[in-house]
């Protein structure tokens, strides 16, 4: 697997159709998920900073639990779900493209 053994130069690999597809897909999904995570967390902080009454509402009549509690726990859970989405994408697309490109270089 050393680069010295490969037939193609780095430049040729970069020009390869599959590599370009892998490159753009990986960048898009990383960027989208990063932005989602930023929006999620800083959205939560913004709610605390600018709309405390919203977070202080009760979940239902007679319940002590405020909306803020599931929102905070939801931020934690959703962050983890985002990592699961990335894993799912990487296992089903990324790894397969990497394998394909490596086979091509080896051949």
């Amino acid at each position: 697997m050393s680069s010295a053994g490969s037939k193609k130069s780095a430049h040729e690999i970069l020009e390869d159709e599959d590599f370009r597809s892998l490159h753009s897909q990986k960048n898009s999904i990383s960027l989208i998920l990063t932005i989602l995570e930023l929006v999620l967390y800083f959205g939560f902080i913004a709610l605390i900073a600018f709309n405390k009454p919203f977070l202080s509402q009760k979940l239902s009549e007679g319940s002590a639990t405020t909306i803020g509690i599931p929102i905070a726990v939801g931020t934690i859970v959703l962050s983890w779900v985002f990592t699961a989405i990335y894993i799912f994408w990487a296992n089903s697309r990324y790894d397969i493209l990497v394998k394909k490109i490596k086979n091509k270089i080896g051949g």
Binding site: I45, T65, A72
Partner: protein, 579 residues
């Protein structure tokens, strides 16, 4: 309802000591086993890259879940309610960022430290010197914070003298790292993480059993005892810019912690690296949800009065709850777990510091990359002992000091000195050596200087006596005014006519107004911070990015640009990655 008015906390607890000795024995056996397998630099720094994604996920969680977060967050929740929950969310959100931006490129491009990645296509020596400065500052500040916390907590839990607690912690940490390297450190982390997660889960089950396993019931009782304010956001976020700045530092600081980044080299490939973040995020998120539950449970079952009576910082909320629900045995177990937690975290930090010293400074800078593996491991071991002793001495030196700011500083520096350079070296073709070096030093300097000038240090620590003097003066004015008002109101006798009553009310109002003016005057002498924010992250991080970009654009480096193609291939498909 159990009431832990009489607590065993703070006394030598035979159960706790037994559990702790057991933990130490097991980990020393592991260290002995690991020592026989630690020959090469790959073994010492990276556990031979033999750790699986799941194991590394647990170890990452072990590195990150400190005793301060376990005891501290439960404490904040029990005393401040919802605000503690806000705090815990901030500690988790950096992990997805690590996965999306850092984990795979880091594993594919580097060997042992994150400086390997930054220096990949740039000039080794200046980059490694700068990255080592960033790493070592982060490691040392975090280590001191953990050590002082360790001494204080162990003293609280076991009744051991502060110096002895630090001495035991430091010596064990040196033993693990010195002989067992990354293999021993990783297994110490894994065992500790499993114990901590298991212990916290058990505590939560016991807690919820008191409420018919209903969170609604728990919150209902919490509301009855402490009003609905307890379940609403309170005073934690008063300045939105400061909150945003803290959020940035927590989020991107996590992605710049050398002992966390180093763990990605212990797995065989990028796929395992990515997997380990998924597990780590799950474990850490679960842990914070447990910790928050423990905090609310302690507030209801132990009561704030008892918690604050044992420790003003609220740190004993978790142990007190364990004692109330599971008696002395559970208290002993949990105290031993907390001790083990401290030990594991400081070991991980020491190893990260030792590798920055030997791999980056000694081999990269002093020897210009020319050193045998044997030599490198030897220097890393010497550095381990040196760092360990430094940590013990600094811990004792800072005894009784308020070191909470050090944790904030650690994350601010990691987010400003380490993260921007690392990210730009991965994604930006035009990034240059000068750009990287100036970015690291800028982030480091700006973060440290702004924190010194901030209210956290400038007012709370450097001008503490003046703050106290003003507070004392205000208190005197208030007391004398209260006494005066009481005197005036004594004249109110039954049967006084309306005019006289009105006159008394007027003079009370006048007295109130006069004292308010005096208080305002006194408060105007309160020392002011030169930099207004408590968290410098927003400025120090922006400065590091900005300087890195400007310097790179002003003096382009065509050679480094040309080498980006090779870096990109290796970064994305892992060809040539260290095995």
């Amino acid at each position: 309802m159990p009431q832990a008015a009489q607590t065993m906390i703070g006394q030598a607890n035979p159960v706790a000591i037994m559990f702790f000795v057991l933990f130490v024995l097991i980990t020393l056996v592991i260290t002995y086993w690991a020592a026989k397998r630690t020959r090469t630099t790959k073994d010492f720094y990276a556990a031979g890259r033999s750790i699986t994604g799941f194991q590394n996920g647990l170890a990452l969680a072990g590195d990150y879940m400190s005793a301060a977060s376990f005891l501290g967050i439960a404490g904040i929740v029990s005393t401040k309610g919802y605000d503690g929950l806000i705090y815990s969310v901030g500690w988790l959100v950096g992990w997805p960022i690590i996965m999306f931006l850092i984990s795979e490129p880091l594993r594919n491009l580097g060997k042992y430290t994150f400086a390997d990645v930054v220096a990949y296509r740039l000039n080794q020596r200046p980059i490694r010197a700068a990255a080592a400065a960033g790493s070592l500052t982060v490691v040392l500040t975090y280590l001191v914070a953990q050590m002082v916390g360790a001494g204080t907590l162990i003293k609280l839990m076991f009744g051991l003298p502060f110096e002895l607690a630090i001495g035991i912690t430091g010596s064990l940490m040196i033993l693990y790292v010195l002989f067992g390297g990354m293999i021993a450190t990783t297994w110490v982390q894994i065992i500790k993480a499993a114990l901590l997660l298991g212990g916290a889960t058990l505590l939560v089950i016991l807690t919820l059993s008191q409420f018919g396993f209903s969170y609604g019931e728990l919150f209902g009782q919490a509301e009855k005892m402490y009003t609905n304010k307890f379940l609403e956001p309170g005073g934690l976020v008063t300045n939105p810019v400061d909150a945003f700045s803290l959020g940035l530092a927590l989020m991107f600081g996590t992605a710049g912690l050398p002992h966390i980044l180093m763990r990605f080299y212990t797995v065989p490939d990028a796929k395992a690296a990515r997997k380990s973040v998924f597990y780590a995020t799950g474990f850490i998120g679960y842990f914070y949800i447990l910790t928050v539950t423990i905090g609310f449970g302690a507030a209801v079952l132990v009561t704030q009065k008892v918690i604050l009576g044992v420790d003003k910082g609220g740190n004993m909320a978790g142990p007190l709850l364990a004692e109330a629900l599971g008696g002395n045995i559970f208290l002993g177990f949990l105290s031993a777990v907390a001790f083990a937690t401290i030990l594991a975290v400081v070991s991980g930090l020491t190893l990260a510091g030792a590798s920055a010293f030997s791999h980056d400074l000694f081999v990269g800078v002093i020897r210009k990359g020319q050193a045998s593996e044997k030599e490198e491991v030897k220097v890393a071991k010497v550095a381990t002992v040196g760092l360990g002793i430094t940590a013990i001495l600094l811990g004792i030196l800072f005894k009784g000091q308020n070191v909470a700011f050090l944790v904030g500083l650690t994350f601010a520096i990691a987010a400003s000195a380490n993260f921007p350079a690392l990210l730009m070296s991965i994604v930006w073709k035009k990034f240059t050596t000068a750009g990287a070096v100036s970015s690291i030093y800028t982030g480091l300097t700006v973060a440290v200087v702004l924190l010194i000038l901030s209210p956290t240090i400038w007012v709370d620590i450097a001008h503490k006596s003046e703050v106290d003097a003003v507070a004392k003066q205000v208190k005197t004015i208030e007391d004398s005014s209260k006494a005066k008002i009481a005197d005036i109101e004594k004249q109110k006798a039954p049967g006084l006519d309306a005019a006289k009553l009105a006159a008394i009310d007027t003079s009370v109002a006048a007295e109130k107004k006069a004292s308010e003016a005096q208080i305002k005057e006194a408060k105007s002498h309160m020392p002011k911070a030169i930099f207004p924010l408590r968290n410098p992250g927003i400025y120090s991080m922006s400065a590091a990015f900005l300087i890195g970009i400007l310097v790179s654009l002003l003096a382009p480096d065509r050679e480094a640009e040309a080498r980006f193609e090779g870096e990109k291939v290796r970064e994305y498909i892992g060809i040539g990655a260290e095995e």
